[in-house]
Symmetry: C5
């Protein structure tokens, strides 16, 4: 039904993460027609944004008390981020959302291609892009999966003894090469987007990870922790973890069903 | 009455801890039939979950202002964690619960067997499993005890001088062996579940302890503090302490009675 | 009128400190008879608890925005702590109390004897216990005084350089002996209860001090700060300071009068 | 109109700082007569307290979101602090005040004489105390000025390397002498009150500064920062900054006018 | 339409930053005429303040959950800051604003000239000041751009090993010279205002940056981070990021439109 067509590369794009707690206690006091209207209004704003090349938005069902819903908006400019933030703020749904956190950054590295892994897999099954069979298998695959999403901000340490920013360039480059090797080893299991936020938000970088299996986040980040890059020089902010779902399923999510991707 | 049949090992299971303050001030404004309905709805969701092998949920009556109720959900996948979280969020009771904290992790080590200690004790009394006498003695024992529960998250220190992640493997293994010896010495008094949360939540591990006598938590953790593992390398998050109770007694708990296990 | 008969020693007792802000803005919207009923219900729960040997509860009028009312409950078990917490939570007064903090611990050292100092003083005046004159003088003395109370939690430092838990036993013992000497020098002016909370709450110990003159708290803790135990190894949590009062005077306190002890 | 007659020295006095946000959104929903009544009740409590020798109270209009109104109460005892806190809590105005912070301490050093500078200046103009001209000029001067107030708490550092409390006495005395010289150089421009709060509140000392020009606070504290006392050993808490005003002008302040001193 | 005429230099001016969340959920419950009235009242206060030489005020549409609206007020005195804060607090709009943060400081360095860059550009196009064509082109340019704004507070580190305030004067001067060179290299792309807040607010300085392109903030601050001034001695507070807009467009902003400059 939905078919996210996102740009192949997101480098240079502005990003806004918005985390909300859903106030079900007020939402459910509404008469059913009004609630339906609110849910459809939100869906009709967000669903078309998932697929568009000119800056997609994605919806994530967060686990735990830090929030229930995370929206990730990619846009060309901060002006466009401001526009989508204001449009979300004017939704009837918004008064039933409690903002709990947010993050502003600009993508530095990363291929945001949540369909790519499925495409690759379908092709290994011998299916050809553009055929009816391919599209149908794709839709089935999408419906079957709810992709896990992990977002967290990081700093490079500027301690009194261990200080990333006073290391010589060559040393930093060598450490990052080693760090990159671990990431690459997980490349088939996890997609990552690194966005920079120095001068924009409270940490230096934001990291988005996408994987079918959340244990991959745990293994990847655990393995990295023994790296010089992480062991000596990384500081980690709060982790937001959840499952991506299609904005078309927002009404189901708001009604308490488990939304499929 | 209730007879928790939980899996023998929980390794690899996903876990969600949810901490709530109970808003008795709004709950008690409800008419008695509505309150009863709400309490029964919550009980009929949670009570069957306690006993099931396919991912149990447990209820804990917390002490102090950090929360009144803690739910611990063990599930096969994050998708199932999301499902139970959404089902709890849709309970009529939920608008009378204020989320105060939560924790997402994956079990690494631990035998969650709250019935095991009782079984062992009954067998030392000469009772045989499967007999009527055994079952009756078991139920009496369960009713008599309210097991104490302690949950807290930890990090391994990555200080500028003392850094766990830059120690050589052999050194870390030796430290953990010593640490494990203390834990084992308390094995008959305390059950522990270690879950990992690197990449999933704000600390690296979560620890759940279960014991008949809370002073055991204090003695065990005090003794461990002099260990190299804790003394030099452990950072402790907030402690949540309380008494487990049967979800079947949720109405009693919500009405202010002290729920028995 | 009230005559606190508390146990001579509290070692091994479980303790719950509860800090509340009194929501006078909602309390005063109640009709006078309802308010009176609420105040009497709370008084009839708490007043009998002050005097009982089997685990007393005490009421403190806190200064400042961290809370207005602190209840200190001593009980034999955590189960009993849970019971009194639930009973307080079910009071009509509770919806007019905002929980701001709490502390769970187990007494390690301390003689809680708020009547002892008065008794000693009366005997130096030549009055004899058990006589009518003694009892009358005692009641007058109690009414005259409002004892100052100070509660704060502490940790022993586990810094990268200064680490209490890596010191040899003899060194720790010597430091604590010196520390104890200062405490003892203030013994006639201040009563202290040390409770342990490793594994139970967010700090390692809780300290309760009781004195006629609050400047004694300041002098004692200032003097101790130059000790090796405090200077190098103590970390201090928030301080709660106030004046103890008889729970029988709870209605006066809630109505804004200054409650006498 | 008002003529603050405060004691020449405040050493040994107990102090309570109370910071509040004014809830204008609820205050303005009141009918004008009720609002007037509330404002007058608060004024009639606070205005007489400004001038009295037996423990004055002062009102400050804070800048920024940390609070709108700060009350500073000087009293002989904590019991009297508790009394004034309870009297403020029982004002009709109180439900329109949101407590945002507070501070409990005992004055160690400082001459609180907000009239002294004006007196001195009037005398240099040749006016004589006790004459009609002096009193009139005094009142004009008071109305003309709104004195700036700065409050902040501090600790002496107990770092692992730099630790105030392990320095020898002579060293500490020398550092404080040097520190005092800077303070004295600003003596004609700024009045300061140092109060101790070890054992009473979360920091070790509180500092109140009063000056005609707020840039003096910035210059004084900047200059001090290069001192050994500040550079190496001071830790600073939150700063509260505002303008003192006469409690008689509380209604004007609450109605949104800028209250004069 | 609006034509900000701000002073050429702001050195010595007092500044108040106010951050608010807009409570659209309450604002939209108002009847349209009342909402219009509120929006016009706020606009008629703020719009004239943008242009005035005697202390301008500016409006910024913040991104993310830290706030929706930031007002920056420049005034001659703290008394005037208090006046504008009280006038904002008495607006009908104010009860629909939730204060989330604020900052009080005094400008030390900086040319606040948001029209300067446009003027310079128009002149390079051959347009002459004072002509009709210049004014029209200016207005078009202003409407076309929404200037990006970044505000954050900083401290100079007073670590136990790295301590800015114990460095000799010459060393500090050399470090700041180098630091200034980077800033100057970005001078055509970014305008900065440095204000001091030692003794006034919780950090030592506040930094305001203005640029057409937000990536400039990221590049500038990233490049500076390798400087000795930042790498070794800077501590950064929260970052507030957004887009300046004309207060005349406040109604459009409040109605959810994206306000142009």
């Amino acid at each position: 039904m939905h078919n996210p067509q996102v740009p192949e590369t997101l480098e240079g794009w502005s990003v806004l993460h918005q985390m909300f707690r859903v106030r079900r206690e007020t939402l459910k006091t509404l008469a059913a027609p009004r609630r339906k209207q609110i849910e459809e209004e939100a869906t009709s704003l967000l669903a078309p944004l998932e697929a568009r090349k000119e800056g997609p938005s994605a919806a994530v069902n967060l686990l735990g008390h830090k929030g229930d819903l995370m929206l990730i908006h990619f846009r060309r400019t901060f002006d466009e981020l401001s526009q989508i933030e204001l449009r979300v703020a004017c939704l009837g749904l918004h008064e039933h959302l409690l903002p709990t956190s947010s993050y502003v950054s600009i993508v530095e590295l990363g291929l945001y291609d949540m369909t790519g892994k499925i495409h690759a897999e379908l092709e290994t099954r011998g299916l050809q892009r553009g055929t009816y069979e391919f599209d149908r298998a794709f839709d089935e695959e999408m419906a079957r999966q709810r992709e896990n999403v992990c977002f967290y901000p990081i700093n490079k340490r500027r301690g009194e003894a261990k200080n990333w920013y006073t290391l010589p360039f060559e040393k930093r480059a060598a450490i990052m090469r080693e760090h990159g090797l671990i990431g690459r080893a997980y490349g088939t299991q996890v997609t990552q987007i690194i966005s920079g936020s120095i001068g924009l938000d409270d940490w230096e970088w934001g990291v988005d990870l996408f994987a079918d299996d959340p244990v991959v986040f745990k293994k990847l980040i655990y393995e990295m922790r023994f790296d010089e890059a992480s062991a000596d020089y990384a500081e980690f902010g709060p982790f937001f973890i959840g499952l991506q779902f299609s904005a078309g399923n927002l009404p189901a999510f708001l009604e308490g069903g488990t939304p499929s991707l």
